[in-house]
Amino acid sequence: MSNGSRLASAIGHKLCALVFGVGLALLVGVASTSEGGMRIAILPFQNVSGHVQAPTFITPLLEPALRDRGYDIVEPKALESFLAQRRIRAPNKLSLEQLLALRDQFGAALALMGSIDLFADTAGNPQWGISARLRDIGSGQIVWADAAGFTGDDFTGFLGLGTITFPEQLAVKTVQRLFRNLPAEGMAPDAKRPVPSGPGKASRWVFRSPRLDTDPPKRIAVFPFENGTERRGAALIVDDLLTVGLFQAGRFQVEDPGEVYRGFQFLGFVPYGGIDLETLQVIRDNFGVDAVIVGRVEDYNEGLRPGVSASPSIALDARMLDVRTGEILWMGYHEARAEDSQIVLEFGMIKSMVPLGMKAIAELVATM
C-alpha cells in the first residue's frame, strides 16, 4: 500500500472511530429511561458446554454484573414467558423483529445474548468459557461483544498457591472478565480504533485479495462453520468467537448471528461448507451484506478428552466471499496451541480454550 493510501486509510479509521464513539454515546443518551438506567434484556445463554448444569452457575451472575454498571434489567420471569409465548427456541439468535417486540413489551433498549462455551468441573481445576454480545434493539446492531475463559490453574501463583478449585468461584471471575470492557450505564465506551490489517502470525497461511484495500466489503456475515472435529458444538462456538473477533477488530460492520439465522429460516436452508453463485445471489438480495465468511473447524481440543493432549489447541480455515461476484476475497488457515505463547515452565501458556480460540481468531482476522 502506498504512503498516500496508508494515510487515507489511517484518517478513515480515525473518522470511523470518532463516528462510532459519538454514535454509541448518543445511543446511550437517547435510550436511557427516565426512571433508571438503560434497560437490558438478558436472554438465556446458549449452552454449548455439554454440561447441563452450566447455566445454573452463570445466569445468576449476569444480572448483578450489569446492575453494578448501572443498567436496569428486565425481569427474568417475564422474559421467560415472552420467549415461551413466541416459541423462541434460539434466544441467542433473535431477529430484529423479535428485538422490537422486546422493546415494546419491556421498554428494553439493549439485549444481551451469549453462549456458555465451556464448563469442566474437573476435580481441583474447573474451567469456564463464555462469550456474549450486546445488541441495540432499535437498530439490531452489535454495540459490544467479548469472550472470556479461565481454568482454575490460571490463578496459581508462587508455590502453587492461589489455584481456584471451586467452579462457582471461577464462574464469578469469568463473568467479571467478560464484562471488563463493558462501559457503565451513561458512559460512552472508549473510542474504538479499528485494528488495521497486516501480516501477523497467521499470514503465511493466508491469501488476501488486493480488493480488500481498494473496495473492501462494509457489511459482512459469518455463516455457520462446518465442524470437522469430534467436539459437538465446536462450530457454533467458533461462529460466536469469530463474530466477537470481527466486531472487536472494528474494520467491518458485522451482521448479527440472529439476522443470519432469520435469513436462513426465510430461505429454508443453511449453506453448510461451501456456497454456489445462485445461493450467493439470494443471500445478496435477502441479507443486505457485501461479503460472507464460511469455513471449517479442523481441530477443537479443550484438553479434556482422554487420550488427547491435555493442553488446548484449535485449528480452523475460513474464506470471505464477495456476494456479488462469488470471488474469494480472503482465505486463511490458522492453528494455535496452548504452548505457542509459553515463555518458561507454564508461564505465558494459554490454558483455557476460549482465550486460545479468541487469540487464534484475532490473529486470523488481523490478516483480513
Partner: protein, 198 residues
C-alpha cells in the same frame, strides 16, 4: 573484521563439511516434486481455475478437503489466477451427476470447465497425510499428486507428484521431525503449485 572466504583459501576439510551440510539440508524438506508440463501449452491463458475434490488415499478422512483448501490458498496467493469457490464446484459436479472426479472423461471435463467458466481444472489425490514412524520418532509426511486438465480439450497439461517431510536425513540421523503436519501439508501444497508457474 569480515573475512572473505574465497575458493582459493578453502581447505579440503571445509569442502567436506560444507558438502555434508548441503547434503543434510537437501534431505530435510523432502524430495523435489516430479513434474510434467506440456511444453506446447500456453499457461498464460489460464486466468481462472477450479480445484475439484481430491481423492483421499490417506488414513485421515479429512485430508482431501484439507489439502484442497491449502491448494486453493496457494493458487490464489500466486496472484496469477482466480480460483472458483468450492461450493460452486460442488454444485456443478452435482448438476453433471459426477460422483468421482478422479474418473472423469474428457467430455465431462469440457462440460464442467464450461459450466465453471475456467481454463483449467485441477484434480489429484492425497496419498499420505500422516505421521510416519522414523526410528524412534514420528515424522509428519504428506504426499500429493496433482493434474491440471485443460478445460477446452480435456487433456492433461500439467502433472506433479510431491512428498514433503517423512523419513528425511535429519529425521533418520538426529530424530529431528521439524514442522507440524499442517506446516508440512502447506509446504507440500506450495511446492506443488510453484511447479505450475515455473
Amino acid at each position: 573484521m569480515v573475512r572473505v572466504i574465497s575458493r582459493a583459501n578453502f581447505q579440503p576439510r571445509q569442502w567436506v563439511t560444507t558438502l555434508s551440510i548441503a547434503l543434510l539440508l537437501s534431505g530435510c524438506g523432502g524430495m523435489s516434486p516430479t513434474t510434467y508440463v506440456n511444453p506446447k501449452y500456453d499457461f498464460g491463458l489460464v486466468k481462472r481455475v477450479a480445484v475439484l475434490p481430491l481423492e483421499n488415499l490417506s488414513p485421515d478422512q479429512t485430508a482431501g478437503e484439507k489439502m484442497r483448501k491449502l491448494l486453493i490458498t496457494e493458487l490464489l496467493a500466486t496472484g496469477v489466477v482466480d480460483v472458483v469457490e468450492p461450493g460452486q464446484v460442488s454444485r456443478v459436479l452435482a448438476q453433471q451427476n459426477i460422483q468421482n472426479p478422479a474418473a472423469m472423461t474428457p467430455e465431462e471435463f469440457k462440460k464442467v470447465g464450461a459450466a465453471l467458466d475456467v481454463q483449467m481444472l485441477v484434480i489429484g489425490s492425497v496419498e499420505s497425510f500422516e505421521r510416519v514412524q522414523v526410528g524412534g520418532v514420528q515424522a509428519p509426511e504428506v504426499t500429493l499428486s496433482l493434474r491440471g486438465v485443460e478445460a477446452e480439450s480435456g487433456t492433461i497439461v500439467w502433472a506433479t507428484s510431491h512428498t514433503q517431510g517423512g523419513a528425511t536425513v535429519a529425521a533418520r540421523l538426529f530424530g529431528l521431525t521439524g514442522d507440524s503436519l499442517s506446516e508440512v501439508a502447506r509446504q507440500a501444497a506450495h511446492d506443488a503449485v510453484v511447479t505450475l508457474f515455473r
